[in-house]
Symmetry: C2
Subunit: 410 residues, 2 copies
């Protein structure tokens, strides 16, 4: 069973947004053993959209289309699917009633244009709207087509309620399981050189890498008749990979450091607070992106100015006037200050220069991260590369990594 | 002149990362008047990659490929381009020297595998590596091909140093200019109903929308022989759009609220600090994503726990014990606390429930944002939809919007 994802929308081709819908759908389908071989993006243009949908149907069992289901004249995915499959559009009385009811419930007048959202290609089954746009599903000889709205959360809800159960049913009982090994502090080529022979021998499970922001993610995926059988294929390979990589591999099954740290904090009843300069609050944002984060996250003291570092995070004036805000000493004082002010088990910090300009004589990419517990304070000096986003992401990752290792060492 | 973007990498098809490279390239090319009609993503698989590159060349003047230029065995974009164009691969002595020198400079041994990065399809011109992976450019009868690394900052550097100047030269002197009008507080269909006739009449300039996270971005784009001529086509249309939308349209030419607020702060010599619960520091992260943000951003007090709200942001106990942390009163106290503690002109705040669970009797999506100056404090109650990311993004946007309007009203 394989699927192709077609993103519709001129805003994607103009670069106004990234195609995060394709990522979410791909990730979800990988989890149920459905292979994805292509993503395609086309604009709100019928003469390019219909052939793209036809091509997708010619090479995949299922096509998941996102976008172009709204009420404006450039929302023409309904027409595109109808044209690709040689079907007429019909107005669904059921959907007219649904769309009308949504506006009535919001106490707003429904613009006439919204009625086009009740049009469906012949034979299509409507998918209940999550916001205001209905989706649809169309089973044809060429394959099954799902058309979902472009708004990410509406898309995600329909994906889980309709697309996944439908494809699971068709794909049969085969299970795909993936486990991730997160590697910090080794580059991609060094990681590869340690496990190259395992990767070459790969068949089931497969081993894939993803490198970026100073980390390498290794994904080990197996297919089998049951989840238990798939897992038993993965386990010896994962153990061998971890043995080769040693302490560079983080424990657990995580794509990034934040959930790994969150799991450790939750499991040990510990709490965390941060004092951030360089990262501007990014560590806090990553830790609070997870549901239930109030169980372990107390707060973040984002201190961009030196006044704030002193007044809010209690960094001593001697440090700010001496080695300065961009120093190991300041990273240590920030981590300790976060712990004290927020009353947490662990304090994390990051200071440095995001760039592009040099600051206080330090080049862009200068990074100091810190972690403090009641027992110890540790600091690391690092060198980040690339743009502001990369330098800040790199610093956030390594601050959390330092905290994770310090907590583990307790 | 038009271009197609081909993303290479199984990690994209597995949904491990979003194709942000395609967004960045599209946005950049839109700015120089190069149209993009398709994005394609294929995996690290020669039998699918080569036809995808051939198809792209058959329908576009230029093809920009990202990814697959690394040192591991699944990095096969060099082979894919060679196969698509019927050329042999040749090892470039110039690149062998470059790649070797990069490792020598890092004081690391070069794994033998990295030498494959010195292979190029016949006739290709290497593009200087930014990290460790060289790119290349190949001019053929079918069109021009650029192959860039998948690491976003390496890709971006080569895009600006090589791809843009090369395509600008070929595209000739035609200029494309875009201006954005950011609309807050109106839905997409209401925005559309106010300017539908202008959109229908569109030719040059064109008008496009992008809705999401409680905002609608309107992009007005014109092509002409010179930038000045393009701008003079845009100006009357933009003025008409702004007249129709009134106060819902933010002043300036911005894609999001953060740079609009940053511009106003910088222009008026004002400073900002935040006290954030719900948003976990997101307002601070958005405001510090911009270079030079230390000119106006002092810090953020991210107070997840009630203790932190009281101790760090000085929210009175009567509020926390009375109306509670999720209330208009708390949003007001947080905004005032941020101003006082951080000593800034403006204080911003957000509190509420990101979800998925109900909290203190308030449903997910409950949002209160606040803004305070020396003269006034304002609070807004809002309702967010969708998942945690959406609710938090929505809250951050409207907190900054409230601050912008309060500063404007001074």
């Amino acid at each position: 069973m394989n699927a192709e994802i077609v993103g519709v929308g001129t805003e994607l081709l103009l670069g106004q947004i990234a195609n995060t819908n394709a990522q979410r759908i791909s990730d979800t389908l990988a989890g149920i053993g459905v292979d994805v071989y292509y993503h395609t993006v086309v604009g709100d243009n019928l003469t390019r959209m219909a052939p793209a949908i036809s091509q997708a149907l010619s090479r995949a069992d299922a096509v998941v289309i996102t976008g172009g289901l709204g009420p404006t004249p450039d929302d023409i995915t309904r027409e595109g699917v109808a044209l690709a499959l040689g079907r007429r559009l019909e107005r669904s009385p059921e959907l007219v009633a649904r769309v009308t009811a949504i506006f009535a419930a919001m106490g707003r007048d429904m613009p006439e244009a919204n009625l086009q959202q009740a049009d469906l290609p012949e034979g299509a089954v409507p998918i209940e709207p999550e916001g205001t746009a209905p989706g649809f599903m169309l089973d044809s000889k060429q394959g099954i087509v799902f058309a979902l709205p472009g708004v990410p959360w509406e898309m995600a809800a329909m994906l889980h309620k309709t697309v996944v159960p439908e494809l699971r049913m068709r794909a049969g009982d085969a299970a795909t399981i993936s486990r991730q090994v997160l590697v910090l502090g080794l580059g991609e080529s060094l990681t590869h050189s340690k496990i190259a022979d395992l990767v070459e021998r790969q068949a089931n499970p497969t081993i894939a890498y993803l490198a970026g922001m100073g980390q390498v993610r290794i994904r080990i995926s197996a297919k089998a008749a049951t989840e238990a059988a798939a897992l038993s294929l993965i386990e010896p390979v994962e153990a061998e990979v971890r043995a080769r990589l040693g302490a560079s591999a983080l424990p657990g099954n995580h794509a990034t450091v934040a959930p790994a740290l969150a799991e450790l904090l939750r499991g040990s009843g510990a709490t965390v607070g941060t004092a951030e300069s360089l990262t501007g609050g990014l560590i806090g944002v990553e830790l609070t992106a997870l549901p239930g984060s109030s169980d372990y996250f107390a707060g973040a003291l984002v201190c961009y100015s030196n006044d704030a570092k002193h007044a809010v995070a209690r960094v001593p004036s001697e440090i700010l006037d001496g080695p300065g805000a961009i120093s190991e000493e300041c990273a240590a004082a920030l981590a300790e200050g976060a712990r004290e002010v927020l009353g947490t088990t662990l304090g994390l910090s990051a200071t440095g220069v995001a760039g592009p300009a040099t600051q206080e004589g330090h080049p862009a990419g200068t990074i100091f991260v810190g972690a403090a517990t009641a027992a110890a304070t540790e600091v690391r000096a690092l060198r980040g590369y690339g743009d502001r986003t990369n330098v800040r992401g790199f610093a956030a990752t390594y601050a959390m990594d330092l905290g994770l290792r310090l907590l583990h060492a307790r």
